[in-house]
């Protein structure tokens, strides 16, 4: 006996009786093999059939090859899916004989179970070069789309805390866990509540990934909906097509935590099983998105290609042939599926599967919101189109609001030291620190933004601008910059002004800025209109442009001009009154057409990220993995848990795996490359990158309108009124005798 034989195989001195038994069993196996069309050879050859050493018996490639390699150099090891045998071809006949001697009739330990191997020589090994199965049209799989660190970050970002009753119910039902961001996907009608955005938009942590998707041209429009699915081993999702009318074409799914096999089925019966490795991105477009169904069979084990390119001799193993399959136990996989909500009916080329074009009619899209006529409706509108949006975009918003406006700073600096200032609608606290001699306190409706103020060391609290919990006449000055235009009725806008005045001490002053309907002033286009080519120019609202990028603000001269002169401005378009009371969505960077509108905000992560070793780390991990598999170690024999076919009846899918798991390696984006581009992507303010879109309600003011509003307030005088970069501005003074 060979001294190098390892412990998993126990060659034992056999009694005559034992030998007889083995002979009998061998004969039986020959018969079986014959039925399979395999004829065994009497004389030794380089090739052997290893009965019971097949994937169909639950024997993994690693386990078997470890045992076989000990006998000599293996040229080929072929394990067909479902078959209860394997073919091994050794480099030399001598090795084959060694294997025969040592392994025939011997038990192979596979995890918790063992199988008895029976070896016979074969003349030739049929290795069908199966034509590689193409992926469904429109499907792209990008491996290593995120590195391990990013994966960990993303997984940590998902909050599964069970305040959500759905999550607890799912757990109880041993159902996969699901969580939605951006918009709620409803499983009762398989559609989305498009008019009810969720308070939580796509988590910030996802933005680098999405930017990478855009950069690598997988998508041109940023998704605004995210569904997170978490599958434990044994859980799956039935085959389905994502509702056409709910989502735009491209759907992307990021696989984290574990690999799985997703099955695509065409109406004509074709089945393609696709391995989705950990950290890979699956991009579904066109036919693969609209026509093929996709699903994950609930399983505990999948058949996947073995990734061991260095193990077998000369050939670069073609991952798409059956000769390189192995079993893989499922781990817990979390998928992040990013989609873009569709607002128009679907007009795809696959009407048979399309709910917009025939098949069950989609629920008619909700009518656009209309202007409210009462406080309750107004509050609801503002909740949806102001408050929720700011909470969702808070940190991106804050990152674009870093430079205080000079004229506001001038106002603040002109206040006597020790003045008490209230910044109503303080946002990210941009103005709270401008004049350190002041006692400044801010308030905002968005707790997310107030949180940013606190982080910066400012004093701020959460409250509504219509009811500020400060005592009357407690402030020497107030500012309200780009706030009042978010109120959706005249009454509420007036109430906001009144509240500011209430806070002022007699003789105190308030500065108010609101968006102007007239974006051109003094024949000069506002920066808002000018900056058509800026990155995310739509987010640089008139009131919040960073002045450092431009020349002197245009409005300066207006202080001296009479602001009532018609010559000083012209509207770019005709001044249209809102007649039907419906709100329209504004096209950013163009002149306003109506006074009440929804303005898109394109979400992007503007935060600077520290590009650490994530790229390198990811690479290292990859190398470690590779070396683990090539080493001839005992460890691999035990590493796969019980693979007995009996354990999991679903191991081999009912769809009879007539095609094999295909891996399509499109050019993987190694994370170290993309992480470098990531850091440059952060500062790519000059690129136009589409982003998830939120809509904010605005009422833009016409010339004189703000003044009129203030005039309705008794006991105040308008000290000055001017146009500043697309805003109408007013400084009010509260009368001394109030």
């Amino acid at each position: 006996m060979d001294a190098t034989v390892e412990n998993n195989v126990n060659p034992v001195r056999r009694s005559k009786e034992d030998k007889k038994v083995i002979r009998k069993q061998l004969k039986a196996s020959h018969t079986l093999l014959k039925h399979e069309g395999i004829s065994t050879a009497r004389q030794p050859t380089k090739s052997l059939v290893v009965a019971n050493g097949g994937l169909g018996n639950g024997v993994s490639r690693e386990e078997l090859s470890a045992a076989l390699k000990q006998m000599g150099e293996v040229d080929k090891l072929i394990m067909h899916p479902n078959k209860p045998y394997a073919f091994v071809t050794y480099r030399s006949e001598e090795s084959a004989r060694k294997a025969h001697i040592n392994l025939n009739g011997e038990k192979l330990q596979c995890g918790e179970n063992s199988v008895t191997l029976y070896l016979s020589y074969v003349d030739s090994v049929t290795c069908e070069e199966e034509a590689s199965v193409p992926l469904p049209e429109g499907l792209v799989l990008v491996e290593d789309f995120v590195c391990s660190e990013e994966e960990a970050l993303l997984l940590a970002a998902i909050d599964w805390s069970s305040t959500n009753t759905d999550v607890t119910a799912q757990k109880a039902l041993k159902h996969r866990r699901v969580k939605h961001y951006g918009f709620e996907f409803r499983y009762d009608n398989n559609n989305v509540d498009k008019d009810k955005p969720l308070p939580a938009g796509i988590p910030q942590e996802c933005l680098p990934v999405l930017e990478r998707c855009v950069k690598n041209q997988h998508i041109d429009i940023m998704p605004d909906q995210l569904t997170v699915n978490q599958y434990e081993s044994g859980q799956g999702i039935p085959p389905h097509v994502d509702t056409h009318s709910a989502f735009e074409d491209t759907i992307m799914s990021l696989s984290l935590g574990a690999k799985t096999v997703m099955e695509f089925r065409h109406p004509d019966g074709r089945l393609v099983a696709v391995v989705l490795p950990e950290r890979s991105l699956l991009v579904m477009k066109g036919e693969s998105r609209f026509l093929w169904t996709h699903g994950i069979t609930p399983r505990k084990f999948d058949m996947v290609p073995a990734c061991d390119p260095q193990s077998f001799g000369d050939t670069t193993p073609d991952l798409r042939t059956s000769s390189n399959l192995t079993l893989s136990k499922r781990g817990t996989r979390t998928s992040l599926t990013f989609r873009k909500i569709r607002h128009e009916p679907c007009r795809c080329a696959f009407p048979s599967a399309c709910d917009s074009q025939g098949a069950p009619p989609a629920p008619s899209p909700p009518p656009p919101p209309s202007l409210p006529c009462c406080h309750a409706d107004a509050a609801l509108l503002e909740e949806q189109y102001v408050h929720r949006v700011y909470d969702a975009i808070a940190s991106h918003f804050s990152s674009t609001r870093h430079s205080p406006w000079p004229r506001v700073c001038h106002f603040l600096s002109s206040l006597p030291p020790g003045s008490v200032l209230a910044d109503v609608g303080c946002g990210n606290g941009k103005y709270l620190g401008v004049n350190p001699e002041l006692s400044a306190v801010g308030c905002d409706r968005s707790s997310a933004l107030v949180q940013i103020c606190a982080e910066r060391g400012f004093q701020a609290f959460v409250s509504d601008a219509l009811s500020v919990p400060l005592r009357a006449a407690s402030c020497d000055a107030c500012i309200s910059i780009a706030v009042i235009h978010h109120f959706s009725t005249q009454e509420r806008r007036l109430a906001a002004v009144q509240e500011l005045v209430r806070l002022l001490k007699p003789g105190g002053r308030a500065l108010i800025y609101v968006w102007a309907f007239e974006q051109e002033y003094n024949k000069q286009r506002s920066k808002y209109l000018k900056d058509q080519n800026k990155e995310l120019p739509e987010n640089h609202n008139p009131a919040e442009n960073s002045p450092e990028e431009s020349q002197e603000p245009q409005g300066k001269s207006s202080v001296h001009n009479s602001s009532h002169s018609e010559d000083n401005y012209r509207t770019v378009d005709n001044n249209q009154h809102v007649t039907d009371g419906k709100l329209s969505v504004h096209t950013n960077r163009t002149a306003f057409e109506t006074k009440d509108l929804l303005v898109p905000w394109h979400l992007k992560d503007g935060k600077k990220r520290v590009e650490g070793d994530s790229g390198e780390g990811g690479k290292k991990d990859k190398q470690k993995e590779k070396s683990k598999k090539t080493s001839r170690s005992k460890a691999t024999l035990d590493c796969n848990p019980a693979t007995s076919p009996g354990l999991d009846s679903n191991m081999f899918s009912d769809s009879s795996l007539d095609t094999i798991a295909a891996t399509h390696s499109s050019k993987p984006s190694p994370c170290c490359d993309t992480s470098q581009t990531c850091s440059s992507a952060v500062k790519s303010e000059s690129e136009i990158i589409p982003a998830p879109v939120f809509h904010r309600y605005y009422h833009v003011f016409q010339q004189g309108e703000l003044e009129q509003l203030c005039a309705q307030q008794a006991g105040v005088t308008v000290q000055s009124s001017y146009h500043d970069q697309g805003n109408w501005c007013v400084i009010l003074e509260k009368a001394l005798n109030r």
Binding site: A376, A379, P417, G418, V420, E437, S439, V441, C443, R445, S447, V450, Q451, A454, Q459, A460, F461, V462, S463, D464, L466, S467, V468, P469, L470, R471, S474
Partner: protein, 123 residues
Amino acid sequence: MKLLTHNMLTSHVKGVTKGYPLLIKATEVKVNEVDFNPQFVSRMIPKLEWSALVQAADELGHRQDLPVELVPEYEKNEEFLKKVHRVLLEVEVIEGCLRCPESGREFPISRGIPNMLLNDDEV
């Protein structure tokens, strides 16, 4: 929330006339080090509701020896100003709540931020 801010805050629950000062129930209080600017403190004092400040400091257990009444000529009294500085700007309520003295309505303070939002029926 610093006590300077607390001094300005009031309950704005509908119908309440005596909503000031808000009572403080603190579960976490921090004392930070803030640069002492005597002129600033001096300027703030006349704008404060002194008794409310003392009461608040008391509630937090940080009153130390802050006097019930303002000392005369405090502008030049650096020792006094320092005491005021500490109480006004260095003591911070991180967790707890503010309670309307009339209605009992509580406004939570979380991570140093009071949430003064009223429900629709309270406005």
